[in-house]
Amino acid sequence: MTETELLLWVRGPALQIATVIFVLGIVVRIAGILMLGRKKNLAEARGSAVAGGLRTILSRSIPDPGTLQRSTFNVVAGYIFHIGLFITILLFAPHILLIEDVFGVSWPALPTPIVDATTVVTIIALLAVLIHRLRHPVMRFLSGFQDYLVWLVTILPLVTGYLAFHRVGIAPPPTLLAIHILSVELLMVVFPFTKLMHTFSLFMARYYNGAISGYKGVKS
């Protein structure tokens, strides 16, 4: 397989396979959660469950002071790499082109030097998070294979994307690009079957918690 053929394969059939696994997996998992159902609450409503749920989806994005004080590092580093992922994935011009091609929607891109710098910051934050996980006795005890796998498939696209963007001479540029796309496809395939599902389930969980409190007319 030549480098052009490899790039063509990862941009075509491989992306199709990864997309099918990614989408199918996510829909099955979300459907599974929704199908669990809830028992009818016989108590009289003291507030709006929907309003409480929606409010909590937003309010839980801000860390409460107690958590921030107790685990400052986790909160700060966590925020940095999540915002970094948001910027690098969704605000880089070539990525927006891909989204436009698939979904038909687009938005303005950030200048590439900003995305470039964000990538470096995000990689550093992810490395710091891993070191913290390994050094902290409780976190290390709680960590299993999946936690390290999820970390790896998250940092790989960032590192390979950085190499492809700067065309670091370890491979011809089309191969670097192909490796980057492949690493994203690996992430997509692993995604629905691991903790990465939190990208979607966190909103459901927040809504669920908020709705319970909202129904009771209390703050969540």
Partner: protein
């Protein structure tokens, strides 16, 4: 012009001044990324160089490479250098044809055995020797035969270097590159469709000066000319970095000269000197004329997923795959959910309540 004439003599006879000659040497040195101290060495070597015998074989090609190398630079000093080599065989340019032409090739080969430079443009068909022949000789056997006595081979153009357009899918002639057939000779790939004229004269000058082939990259191309990507040297690069793109060929962005990435520019994955050396004696290059780079100096550029499709765009229909996956996922999810619910209902139904008597009975058993 006599065969024993040196390059310097030939140039002087054609009215090239010493100053003009040194200017060419300095330009060649800088293009090959050599220090200025090498200029006198290049000048001295070129001055004394005997005109090397060059045999030019054209196989499955369009003559675009020959057009590029001979016509566009004919009034310049590069063109004269080119004239000044002893081009002993080139079936497009020579007057002779048929057996007379072949006799000239054979004579040149015999006379300069082990010393001549073999230039090849065009790919070589392997599916059937009859697909392309010259004077009844198949391309493959002519190449293998002529390559034996060559000091070095210069594969000019993407067809000779990587198979090029004849090798594009489905490759009906079984076209291959020179490097696929010749393994025991130094091969310099001067890729491009066509390649930049100054690159071939630069390679020849390097060979005349040092008697060696220039430093090559992983794809066999001289690093001095193919060391940097079009994207990195593109004058439109600041627009890419700012996120300013032309969306069509006639929108505001196109008129303002913004980046052509969205229109399928292959600059980021293409290595060539177009953005620096430019074409037509330094006039411009395709991107300057408003057209995205096709990536013509890269292998398989013809099958790279579409000239007008941005590099980051998928080459297959991803939307349809995603829609099918949503449908299948929803069906599977509902089915699994229903199975879980049925299981739960069965468990509830078969559940037996434990009474205090059961526990006491159990205690008695112990």
């Amino acid at each position: 012009m006599s065969k024993d004439e040196t390059l310097g003599e030939a140039l002087r006879r054609q009215g090239i001044t010493r100053r003009g000659f040194l200017k060419f040497c300095a330009a060649t040195a800088s293009m090959m990324a050599l220090p200025p101290s090498m200029v006198p060495a290049i000048a001295a070597a070129l001055e004394k160089a005997m005109r090397p015998s060059v045999i030019w074989l054209s196989f499955q090609e369009c003559t675009g490479c020959t057009e590029s190398l001979t016509r566009s630079h004919s009034p310049t000093v590069e063109g004269l250098i080119f004239d000044t080599i002893s081009l002993d065989y080139h079936h497009t340019l020579q007057a002779a044809s048929g057996s007379a032409a072949e006799a000239a090739r054979e004579a040149a080969m015999e006379e300069n055995y082990g010393k001549y430079i073999l230039v090849v443009d065009g790919s070589i068909p392997t599916a059937n020797p009859g697909y392309s022949t010259i004077a009844g000789i198949s391309n493959k056997s002519m190449l293998l035969d002529t390559a034996k006595g060559a000091a070095a081979i210069v594969a000019v153009g993407t067809c000779a270097a990587y198979g090029g357009i004849p090798k594009a899918k489905p490759n009906p002639t079984g076209a291959v590159a020179v490097s696929d057939l010749i393994k025991d000779k130094p091969i310099i790939n001067v890729s491009g469709c066509p390649p930049i004229p100054v690159v071939i004269t630069g390679v020849l000058a390097h060979f005349l000066t040092f008697g060696t082939i220039p430093e090559l990259d992983a794809l066999g191309r001289p690093k001095a000319y193919y060391g940097q990507s079009i994207h990195d040297r593109c004058y439109r690069r600041p627009f890419y970095d700012k996120g300013l793109f032309a969306n069509t060929f006639d929108d505001e962005g196109a008129k303002k000269g913004w980046c052509l990435y969205k229109l399928g520019c292959k600059g980021p994955t293409t290595y060539n000197a177009c953005a620096t050396t430019k074409w037509n004696e330094g006039t411009s290059f395709p991107i300057e004329a408003g057209h995205p780079c096709l990536g013509c100096s890269e292998p398989d550029f013809w099958d790279g997923g579409g000239f007008y499709k941005a590099l980051s765009m998928p080459t297959e229909d991803i939307t349809r795959a995603a829609v099918y996956a949503v449908g299948a996922g929803a069906a599977a999810g509902v089915a699994l959910g229903a199975m879980n619910r049925a299981k739960k209902a069965r468990a509830v139904k078969t559940h037996e309540k434990v009474t205090i008597n059961d526990l006491e009975k159990g205690a008695d058993d112990d």
